[in-house]
């Protein structure tokens, strides 16, 4: 019996797919799983594990309440689960103009301001940043104009603050604080972030106040490591010189001098501090 062409064509397709599945879907990856058992490769193929985790996978150095353990270098903020959870890796995915807090979620701007303030306090440095209030939220006004988008200002509300607004007046109008549950954008307010007078290059570096892409970033910038060095020296009774020496030893420079950015592996550095 001769099969109709369309059917024999689909049967050929199925056979082709099955052959490819055996070859590319089983033989190829499994061969490399076997290669991964070779000495020299097996450590890496199994995840570069050390005594307290993987050197490739970042972790939190916080206590049970989520507070930083002062004798350890701290990692970056992480959006993976409750932080550095490899079973739910994620980035924050909040956009560059995420500046207004809502009842259920803080804007990215407020998160950045909040982190900067907390790190400033922990490291005894100035935690101020552009577009941040001194109490660590996004400095953002909803400005109401007489004619919608133009004309004189009639009203201004500091949308992320319920307490005292970060500035008293805007264009001669007294700034109000926000009331819970009000949507000032829907009411016609124009969202206006206020730069403030913080230095353009804040003391707390950018990577310290932003969440990574992987949520598992094992590294921090050299600048953030240096910022933490005095605290580590104090907590561990080490000379600052020794701490900086350790930072240097655990800094991975750019590959071939031009790929990527210099990065300090936090777990390796902390293990070295513990003498492990």
């Amino acid at each position: 019996m001769r099969l109709p062409t369309w059917l024999s064509q689909h049967l050929a397709a199925l056979r082709a797919l099955l052959v490819m599945t055996v070859l590319l879907g089983l033989a190829y990856p499994l061969a490399f799983v076997a290669v991964g058992h070779l000495p020299g490769l097996s450590h890496k193929a199994n995840g570069s594990m050390v005594s307290a985790g993987s050197t490739l996978i970042g972790q939190s150095f916080t206590d049970a309440d989520g507070n930083p353990v002062p004798k350890y270098f701290q990692s970056r903020p992480s959006a993976a689960g409750d932080g550095y959870d490899p079973t739910s890796t994620a980035a924050s995915n909040l956009g560059p103009e995420s500046v207004v807090d809502t009842a259920d979620a803080k804007s990215l701007l407020t998160q950045v301001c909040e982190r900067s303030l907390a790190i400033g306090k922990l490291e005894n440095v100035d935690g101020s940043r552009p577009y941040c209030t001194s109490d660590g939220v996004g400095a953002v006004l909803a400005v109401f104009y007489r004619d919608g988008l133009t004309g004189p200002v009639t009203r201004a509300v500091s949308v992320n603050q319920t307490g005292t607004p970060f500035i008293a007046t805007y264009e001669g109008v007294t700034v109000e604080s926000a009331k819970n549950g009000e949507d000032y954008v829907a009411e016609g307010g124009v969202i206006t972030p206020i730069r403030g007078d913080a230095p353009a290059k804040p003391v707390v570096p950018a990577d310290a106040v932003t969440a990574s892409g992987s949520g598992l970033d094992p590294d921090i910038s050299v600048a953030y490591a240096n910022l933490q060095a005095p605290r580590i020296a104090r907590e561990r009774n080490l000379s600052p010189v020794r701490v900086h020496q350790l930072i240097e030893e655990h800094t991975e420079g750019r590959a071939l001098g031009f790929m990527g950015e210099p990065a300090v592996n936090v777990l390796e550095l902390n293990l070295a501090l513990d003498g492990k």
Binding site: K44, F61, A91, E97, Y131, V209, L216
Partner: protein, 548 residues
Amino acid sequence: MAGWLFVITLVLAVAAAYRPLGDYLYRVVSGRKSNVVERGIYRLVGVDPNTEQTWGVYARSVLAFSAVSILFLYLFLRVQDKLWLSLGFDGVPTHIAWNTAVSFVTNTNWQAYSGESTMGHLAQMAGLSVQNFVSASVGIAVAVALIRGFAARKSQTLGNFWVDLTRITLRVLLPIAVLATLVFMIGGMVQNLSGGTDVTTLTGATQHITGGPVASQEAIKELGTNGGGFYNTNSAHPFENPTTWTNWIQLFLILCIPFAMPRVFGRMVGQNRQGYAIVAVMSVLALASIALTVGFEVHGGGTVPQAAGAAMEGKDVRFGVPNSATFGAVTTLTSTGAVNSFLDSYTSFGGMMPMVNMMLGEVAPGGVGAGLYGLLILATITVFVAGLMVGRTPEYVGKKIGAREMKLASLYFLVTPAVVLIGTAAAFATGHNSTALNTGPHGLSEVLYAFTSAGNNNGSAFAGITVNTPWWDTALGLAMLLGRFLPIILVLALAGSLARQKPVPESEGTLPTHQPLFVGLVVGVTIVLVALTFLPALALGPIAEGLS
């Protein structure tokens, strides 16, 4: 400076690969001698490698193979819990299985699921990563069929799909993937079948370190311009991209085949200079786009990047801003859609660039195969437009561009914008845009990005939007399906129509298609067509956000 050096070395490496890789590809697709393995495969599949197929048969073979693939992958994902190495995960729910099956078969690799919490190792290896290979081969095969149409003289046939599929997979993709896997393993990617290890962190918490056959999947994910990550955070995940130099190699793998395809074109039509012209168009567009993306991200405009001091949200320290932006540009210029940093958190204009790259139709250099046939269509349209302007007969590498050819080329160009814009409009009309994470113009960008990515078979995302709902999975699945196979059918029809023609000798009236003038014209036509189609939508999204 280091960031620019990163780009320059990539350009040099891809340029160095153009001739050897292109010539090798040419020999693979035009050779006829089969080796033992291939003869065995032809026997198992039940095809005669010496039969030539008309465009109709070729197209039906592509469609049959893809249809069977979608069905097989769908069933595979549905029953993964009954198979080995499922890691205890349930069968994938219907709408996600449909979306994922279509996504991987169409070379899109859009991911409505999170790898580490949905897919067992067998599903990743024998389901998803097989499609990473064969969907790439299908793209190259279709491009080669179109070139055969240009090169043929009064022929009814375009080659044999099954032979092309087998040869491209076994002789091009597999060997390079094998090499890349080894390099990646040396770089630190994991390759095991472990369900993960619980470890106690330095401060006494528990962390579950995941495992998996990652390196082998990663190699073909990049080489086949697929982009579907083993884990949710894709090439940002340290197990998928452990070092700054694996990052460079990933980009090289993504770019090498799409940029070598014009060489195959030049060789097959017997004029290498035609290949150089096409690769010049690709390069001009790609370099401009990469420079702009890196520029926007390093400048770091916008409220949050200004507050943070750099656009570091969603980026890992080892890659930094310039290399992350380069990756974002390259994976959207090709149809890869992998990410090593999260586009949703890019600056407004930096985040617009990936969208624009995809809207260009992914022709600079585009996906493996798909990029070349997309650009040849644009070149065809350009020849026609130029013909109208100066009153010359429109012809391209010896083939007349008549009414039938122009109809097919125009239809090809219209498919993707129609899918993207109608899809985006449908999401807003039905209220399904409400799953976007961000509000205002950025919310529109998230929806527009999703359909642009699906319609162009890219797979990257403004990932804040929640898309694993039945409506989104179905709609984006349809967008991917139409965005892949309607163009393929039109390309093969065009190839058939060109193949039947007798080549016309070059005359005084022929527009030379290998000179800078033509390169400039194609670049211009591409940009004008895209601008006319998408500028209104972009104005409401990223442009509104960036200017506010």
